[in-house]
């Protein structure tokens, strides 16, 4: 959730200093970017966080399968975040751990620890459009959402279930993205993404993500406890439930190293 700091400061300065004046002359693209920058700025300074994530995968017939993953994140100043995912369920992948160093300027770096083989494998981070653990979430949907991973266009203000939102389109910069565009509904009060529509490479509506049950931590950071992704083309859906959110627990950079992958429990 970071952004090249020089660029961010510059953009923020423009937005803050000239906000009243440019409101009239700002283009839809500038306004979209300003909203994304503001949303990002409001989440700065979380330092580190951890949570339990329960994934419920449903096929068209409603049959469910469950995954349990513990996630840990570390904020990195001037670059993308580092994150760890430790798989507890299904039992055959228990102990499998992935480490991601996301970057704003260069491609992300990713490693996977396979406990049965005692093997740390560096994996390609180019595969953004692939499904995460067989779910309806692609890797790019659950990865660090950095400002400069998209370009933006403000569309309109809209009431979503009675809440005033900004509606904007964003276009993935990475040509390996599985999407041509996303339409995002951002709550005006707290700058939280309430709903996102994903359009596939043919431009057809593919999925809708709805976020709900937001809680605030450390009087600043808002996190959704529930994310619901529905695939309109396959009829499948995936729910993510987050619990036990903790912030500033003292995680260190050395906990997010290749060597520490083997001893994550």
């Amino acid at each position: 959730m970071t952004f090249t700091s020089k660029y961010r400061n510059l953009t923020a300065a423009i937005v803050l200093l000239f906000a009243p004046a440019i409101a009239m002359s700002q283009s839809a693209e500038e306004r979209g970017l300003a909203i994304a920058v503001e949303a990002d700025a409001r989440d700065q300074g979380y330092v580190d966080s951890s949570a339990n994530m329960r994934m419920i995968l449903r096929n068209r017939a409603g049959k469910e399968s469950i995954r349990n993953v513990r996630i840990k994140s570390l904020e990195v100043k001037g670059d993308g975040d580092k994150s760890l995912s430790i798989f507890d369920e299904p039992a055959d992948v228990k102990g499998t751990t992935s480490l991601t160093w996301s970057h704003s300027a260069k491609p992300d770096e990713q490693w996977l620890y396979l406990p049965a083989l005692k093997r740390v494998k560096r994996i390609s981070s180019k595969n953004k459009s692939g499904p995460f653990m067989g779910s309806e979430f692609a890797f790019e949907d659950i990865g660090s959402q950095e400002v400069d991973k998209y370009t933006y266009k403000y569309l309109r203000d809209e009431n979503l279930n009675g809440t005033p939102t900004f509606v904007m389109e964003r276009y993935p910069v990475d040509k390996n993205s599985g999407y041509t565009k996303q339409v995002v509904w951002i709550e005006q009060d707290r700058y939280l993404a309430q709903k996102i529509e994903f359009y596939d490479r043919k431009g057809a509506l593919l999925k809708t993500l709805a976020s709900s049950d937001f809680s605030q931590y450390l009087d600043k950071f808002w996190r959704a406890a529930k994310l619901e992704m529905v695939n309109h083309q396959s009829g499948k859906s995936t729910t993510l439930e987050f619990s036990d959110y903790q912030f500033q627990t003292g995680l260190k950079s050395s906990d997010f190293s290749k060597n520490a992958l083997k001893r994550q429990k």
């Binding site: 039992a91 560096r122 180019k126 260190k252």
Partner: protein, 421 residues
């Protein structure tokens, strides 16, 4: 002394109040050999049960104990019916270092077909026909991590483990019995020779590079023919050697370039180099262009379609990996390992489905004599906590290969159902 140390570790572990983590499994495996063996026993089916558990116990902050016992019962091969431990390891970690003592498992390597750099642990050749399973190695291991100049580690390996071999009644039968009672060593200390190893590894943008040095007993025995009262057998001979090696992987988007190269020297062995070099290229969602470019009738790709062919053609989530590796040994046909001038070509399918299904089709061909091994390895998840695995190998055109020749009738298909907890 060694036993006392292990007993001490267990005693410490059992009195500690910290949390215990575990992962384990129980498996049943059925292997079918369609043809009759030249071995002493003429059976076609084998059943085997296995159990494994890996326990991890925090003794204090940054001090923990790993214990990994295993057991197997085998219907046909007495050598495979056994129990033991793959790990009993005490680990202490700091911010920039890690210390391990006890019985441990270490993996080095990047390539798919064979890992010549992976010299710390002995291969447990009877546990798993893929050759991935390792025996525990007694070790003292110190690692030091830096941000700028990579990671360094040193190993002291005070006790050698012999390779396991299929028993007289086991299959695939290598043509002649290997008698581990007749094992000999170049070292006058035999299995008590103290081996040591050093390794450095670092990352440079797209490249991960490791260098190592090993001085001690070879993990790969030379098999010497010996005539006994009961007939001819092969006796494993473990020579002393010094090995230097490099392993490297470069990742350029969906293309991975990999190499493992070693040089071995010693008084008893021929000084030589070995290497495995190749690529893996992944085609992400390789069938998705069919839909994107409207190559398929639209009604095929609606959720109601039941026809498996149409469903497969519309599966835009599947990845295909293309694997190509060249295996080389400077000693040529004098080598004590099989892959002296061989090529591996493989197709790896990742279905990215709810059951995390995968399949790997491989062909390895000896470029000198044409001996060919076809293999299939596929797996899928069943009932949330089970995994069903199919593994098969077919040996073809083996008549001119002195080692594979014996495997002419040893092609097999194995089905394995494992419950994980």
């Amino acid at each position: 002394m060694y036993r006392l140390f292990l007993t001490g570790l267990i005693a410490v572990a059992s009195t500690s109040a910290f949390a215990l983590d575990w992962r384990g499994n129980i498996s049943y495996e059925l292997t079918y050999f369609p043809e009759s063996s030249v071995g002493t026993d003429n059976w076609n089916f084998n059943s085997s049960f296995g159990a494994d558990v890996e326990l991890s116990h925090d003794l204090a902050d940054n001090v923990f104990l790993t214990f990994h016992p295993f057991a197997r019962w085998d219907q046909q091969d007495d050598e495979r019916t056994r129990a033991g431990a793959r790990e009993l390891l005490l680990t202490t970690v700091g911010d920039t270092w890690e210390f391990n003592a006890g019985l441990g498992t270490v993996f080095w390597g990047v390539t798919e077909s064979r890992n010549p750099v992976d010299i710390i642990n002995q291969t447990d050749a009877i546990e798993d026909l893929t050759g991935d399973e390792k025996l525990g190695q007694v070790m003292l291991n110190l690692k030091w991590f830096t941000d700028s100049i990579g990671e360094f580690e040193a190993f002291l390996l005070p006790r050698f483990e012999e390779r396991t071999f299929i028993g007289t009644n086991g299959r695939p039968f290598p043509g002649i019995n290997i008698d581990t009672d007749l094992t000999t060593y170049e070292s006058s200390e035999a299995e008590d020779n103290i081996d040591f190893a050093l390794r450095w590894a670092n990352s440079f943008d797209a490249w991960d590079i490791g260098l190592h040095y090993f001085d001690g007993t070879s993990r790969d025995p030379v098999l010497l023919p010996v005539v006994t009262e009961t007939g001819a057998v092969l006796a494993p001979r473990y020579s002393l050697l010094r090995q230097v090696g490099i392993d490297a992987q470069g990742l350029y988007g969906d293309l991975a370039i990999k190499t493992e190269t070693i040089h071995q020297s010693g008084d008893e062995i021929e000084n030589h180099a070995e290497s495995v070099t190749g690529i893996e290229y992944t085609l992400v969602g390789f069938l998705s262009p069919l839909q994107e470019n409207d190559k398929l009738p639209e009604e095929w790709c609606t959720p109601d379609v039941r026809n498996p062919f149409k469903r497969l053609a519309c599966n835009d989530r599947m990845d295909l990996g293309l694997v190509l590796e060249y295996l080389w040994d400077q000693r040529g046909t004098d080598s004590n390992q099989l892959f002296q001038n061989d090529l591996l070509a493989g197709l790896r399918f990742a279905f990215n489905d709810t059951a995390t299904s995968d399949a790997l089709f491989g062909i390895v061909q000896d470029l000198d004599n044409g001996a060919t091994t076809l293999s299939i390895e596929a797996s899928t998840r069943l009932f949330d906590s089970y995994r069903l695995k199919v593994f098969g190998q077919q040996f073809l055109n083996t008549s001119d290969d002195t080692v594979l020749n014996a495997f002419e009738n040893e092609s097999f298909l194995q089905v394995d159902l494992t419950y994980f907890y």
